[in-house]
């Protein structure tokens, strides 16, 4: 839920990175944290297990330009990917203003992509947030690995419904299209906020390698 504080003249939005376990959600946030200006971000908070798997969530506050006199702040979260953490995912998705679904492009991860995708939509529905009205971006990550699944195939699996989402091919480990993904979602969220309609909700837009 967007929160507008007219006293501090600040608008806050919550963006959540969802997706397959080990798909690169935390890597997206780590890259953003390492490459965004220190004056534009807070600390990266990671609640992880001893072997660096996300246990609860990662959190990174970032802020961008002042729009109409209001400082615009985005709170970036990741959810844990593993199946057993569904209750945690649902919790982190409360009050979300936009989601990035990070799909793993390795061919043997397609079933997990689908499971995570369906789980995300179910969790949003259970929270009373209809996915159809929520700004969302698909990121096909790990395009730098050998023999990634064809984009058309991944689109068929994840993006062939009535709502076609913008797609970004990415390699979060090298930073390729990590900022493009963030900017794409942030623009959609702001568009919805300022105009009352979701951008890119009907036409698919693909940013390729």
């Amino acid at each position: 839920m967007a929160v507008i504080n007219h006293d501090t003249r600040e608008v806050s939005f919550k963006l959540v990175y969802c997706g397959t376990p080990m798909g690169g959600k935390t890597t997206n946030l780590s890259y953003i944290h390492s490459r965004i200006g220190a004056d534009q971000r807070g600390d990266l908070v990671a609640l992880a297990t001893a072997n660096d798997r996300t246990l609860f969530f990662d959190f990174l506050p970032v802020h961008t330009m002042v729009i109409n006199g209001y400082k615009t702040k985005f709170m970036l979260y990741t959810v844990p990917g593993q199946v057993c953490y569904n209750a945690t995912r649902q919790m982190v998705l409360r009050g979300v203003d936009g989601v990035v679904f990070v799909a793993d492009s390795q061919l043997d991860r397609m079933e997990e992509n689908l499971t995570a995708w369906r789980g995300m939509i179910r969790n949003l529905a259970d929270n009373g947030t209809p996915f159809e009205q929520l700004p969302a971006i698909l990121q096909f990550n790990k395009r730098d690995l050998p023999d990634p699944a064809p984009v058309a195939y991944m689109e068929y699996l994840l993006n062939s419904g009535p709502r076609r989402l913008p797609v970004f091919e990415a390699a979060a480990a090298t930073g390729y299209n990590v900022f493009a993904t963030l900017n794409g979602l942030a623009q959609d969220v702001l568009h919805l906020f300022h105009h009352g309609t979701a951008r890119g909700a009907t036409a698919s837009q693909s940013v390729s390698a």
């Binding site: 929160v3 507008i4 006293d7 534009q40 971000r41 969530f57 961008t64 209001y70 942030a186």
Partner: protein, 169 residues
């Protein structure tokens, strides 16, 4: 802008007057209970109003963790069969804090130090929470809201298509 606040399913508006009232309540609570810092948090992790020692305020990391911890413990309580959850208290050697529900959407964070006792804080919090609830419940609920009223629409003077909101260094 002097309207109180508007509160809908998608956007929470915190008007100047309301924020000042909330802050005033929190400041009174800090003074009465000797809490060093108090903040009203919204469930998505945003600080709505705060009072006390500004050194405790950060870019939102503490609020996000507090809201997450609260939600997690509330879920544990529910799963263990307790439908009511009255928050929790951390007793550190020097610094202590508690998280208390105000409404299902808002949480009160109170940070205090020895020798202030939790029982006193809890007692004062009851009164402060009643005030906060009253202030929150007076929020008028609009049918729909997008831009905050009083703020000109960005359409026409800002192009989201062309703008790069975040730049990589």
């Amino acid at each position: 802008m002097d309207t109180l606040t508007t509160h809908s399913g998608h956007v929470l508006h915190l008007g100047v007057t309301l924020t000042q009232r909330l802050r005033h309540t929190l400041a009174g609570y800090c003074q009465e209970s000797e809490v060093r810092y108090a903040a009203l948090l919204e469930e998505s992790g945003t600080i709505c109003a705060d009072a006390g020692d500004a050194a405790f305020k950060d870019s939102g990391e503490t609020a996000a963790l507090a809201v997450g911890a609260f939600a997690a413990l509330q879920a544990v309580a529910r799963r263990l069969g307790d439908g009511t959850f009255e928050g929790f208290f951390h007793e550190g050697k020097t610094r202590q804090f508690c998280l208390t529900p105000v409404t299902p959407q808002f949480i009160l964070l109170s940070v205090f130090e020895a020798p202030v006792r939790f029982a006193i804080v809890k007692l004062c919090a009851v009164k402060a929470i009643a005030h906060l609830q009253e202030q929150i419940e007076t929020m008028p609920i609009p049918e729909r809201s997008t831009m905050p009223s009083g703020v000109p629409s960005a359409a026409g003077d800002f192009s989201f298509e062309a703008a790069t909101l975040f730049r990589q260094e």
